[in-house]
């Protein structure tokens, strides 16, 4: 049995070596068509600019059914995106374009194959366009391949990123981090120690938001140091536990032991940190989240959360539907359409979203 064990350990060592080695020898080239980063795309246009460029939405003849596939309706964010897409379809319907949308989601953010089955079902039903927010970068790839093969346009809304999808509509995730970093930097007068609570390792939004935050701090605020960076897997509970640990380590006794700000990759985690912060008297960090869920707005009103970066899923959903219509009408929609986002603080928390992002409904061509 010892022999068996040692053989196993040896084989394992060789395998790990082979795996790591392969990585060093053949790094994936960044120009690889399968490796796509919408934040860094050269074919990216801001939504309002695109609207100016393309003009009124073409009046499509005939009737259209769109399919929308969200990650999980358990999360308010995706329910809001659903409302956004349905609102968009309803507005265009009123405007004379006969379009309806069937919005569905997977059974939780772990149901990768279930989400794929939904896309497959929509292809079988011959929907006219499919709008997807994949759970991971890969789980809907076979479905998107099949849809494109069947001639159905696919719009990738938000993350995960489907490299082969012809169009992406969503906020610039890197910019999320930039907005948060600039706010924190100004609030701290360019000095202090900050921590980052990141989302699930490897998730596109988590990577880009963190990167945008760190690079902005480094470039604009050289006297601010990022002292901690840990994942809480998008979970409120994990974020709360993590913050509790930090508040024990950073007890404010010396300048090295203070924590002046905590940036969280989403609001759910920020609210977990807020909860931990309620029981902490030692340090008083600025807490910033991303997403703009309603609970975060309430927490800002109550003065418990300092800011969130809202990417307005209600309007993003409408924009996604608009882009699908433009694509079906044969207009050239760029590879990436960046949707509006804004920093929400006590200063504008009660302002209407339409004012904050200066939203007006798109014009529809008349006959």
């Amino acid at each position: 049995m010892k022999k068996f064990l040692s053989v196993m350990i040896m084989v394992f060592a060789v395998l790990s070596f082979a795996a790591c080695n392969g990585n060093q020898k053949d790094p994936i080239p960044t120009a690889d068509p399968t490796n796509f980063n919408p934040d860094a795309s050269s074919d990216a246009v801001n939504y309002y600019d695109l609207r100016d460029q393309l003009g009124a939405v073409p009046l499509l003849e005939g009737s259209y059914t769109f399919g929308g596939v969200a990650k999980a309706f358990e999360n308010e964010y995706w329910r809001t995106l659903k409302t956004g897409m349905e609102t968009g379809a309803a507005k265009f319907y009123e405007g004379g374009i006969n379009v309806t949308i069937d919005m569905r989601s997977a059974l939780g953010e772990g149901d990768q194959t279930g989400q794929l089955a939904i896309v497959q079902d929509m292809i079988t039903r011959n929907y006219d366009a499919i709008l997807v927010s994949p759970i991971t970068d890969g789980n809907l790839v076979p479905g998107v391949e099949d849809a494109l093969e069947a001639g159905i346009p696919v719009v990738n809304v938000n993350d995960g990123i489907v490299a082969i999808a012809p169009n992406f509509v969503g906020p610039n995730a890197y910019e999320n981090g930039v907005l948060a970093a600039n706010y924190i930097g100004e609030q701290l007068n360019g000095e202090g120690q900050v921590a980052i609570v990141t989302g699930m390792s490897g998730a596109f939004a988590a990577r880009q938001r963190t990167l945008g935050f760190k690079e902005t701090i480094e470039a604009n605020f050289p006297n601010i140091t990022v002292v901690e960076e840990q994942t809480a897997n998008w979970s409120r509970e994990e974020a709360r536990n993590l913050a509790n640990t930090w508040f024990t380590t950073y007890d404010g006794s010396t300048p090295e032991k203070t924590l002046d700000a905590i940036f969280c990759n989403n609001d759910t985690m920020a609210l977990g940190v807020v909860e931990a912060n309620e029981a902490n008297d030692n340090v008083d960090p600025i807490i910033v989240g991303v997403d703009g869920i309603s609970e975060a707005y309430d927490a800002i009103r109550d003065g418990k959360l300092d800011a969130t970066v809202d990417s307005f899923p209600l309007f993003k959903g409408q924009i996604a539907v608009e882009m699908a219509i433009r694509i079906l009408a044969g207009q050239a929609v760029p590879r990436v359409v960046h949707t509006p986002q804004a920093l929400i603080t006590t200063a504008n928390v009660d302002q209407a979203a339409t004012d904050i992002i200066q939203w007006t409904d798109p014009q529809i061509q008349t006959k």
Binding site: M1, M8, A18, T34, N35, D102, G110, T113, G114, T124
Partner: protein, 335 residues
Amino acid sequence: MSKVNQMMKNVLKKFTWNNIKQAMASREGLLIISIFIIVGVFTIIDSVYIMPRNIVNILEQSVVNGFLAVGITFAIVLAGIDLSIGSIYALSIVFVSKFLVGGMNPFLAIGLGILVGAIFGGFNGVLISKLKLQPFIATLGTMSIYRGIAYIVTNGNPVLGIPTEYRQILNSNTFGSIVPVSIFLLIAFVIFTQIVLKKTRPGTYIYSVGGNEESAFLSGIKIDRIKILGYAISGIGGAIAGMILLAQLGTGEPIAGSGAELNAIAATAIGGTSLAGGKGSPIAAFLGAILLSALKVGLIVAMVPTFWQYVATGAIIIVAASVEIIQKRLKSSTT
């Protein structure tokens, strides 16, 4: 008219209650009948369900879960469990992706992928037999360790650029591009494991160890070896499932398969494998996986609202498990 009536009567005679009862008395027969009922019901609700595209979809989904379910059957027959099977699945995905991106021959990469499953699965067996750890605890631990290794190897990022050559080997369709090739691989795996369990000495020992470890030990069976073998096969099931998913997706994600162990356990339980050990078969697990996929896809096709799908899935698992009891009654009434 009377002739038609006569014919009908003759046909009906063949479907006597006793015949049906006999078919239902075997677990496999019952599963097949249940699958037909599910397919029938969903086809009536929406004929889209029976379309070839949709059947491919059901089969593709059941292939991945089928490999996991057949694998975990070995752990469960041994009166254990393999919670790490979803992580082994992810490990095979990331290792094989790395091999392929590094330019390795696809067949060699597949071979090494199977080895990855055997090693990490076998390691579970070592922990359980040599350290006498509870299978639930041991594999709960390795579930996290293996997932961690998958993240470490890839630094948390998906591995991109899987060669199409590899994807074609494990993910193409035959027979008018309706039947995925991978279903035949699963059937081969089911037959192979069924023979191992039912016809070979180690297989018999697996049942004995799972049924009564004490008496198996007293009759001179080398329990440790049998356990390591059983968990290694479980790992191999996980590894092959991972390699097939990799071929389907074309992206090697370390996050893949989190929660997959629960689907595998569900399929196995629907197949009638008792979690108490000593009973169960790969064929039943395979049919359980098909039934589960048929149901899940059916709920999507029938446009059951998302939140109700949770309720429906859970209810079916409970109904399927309670069939065991009904079946026992039927058995006693036919004899």
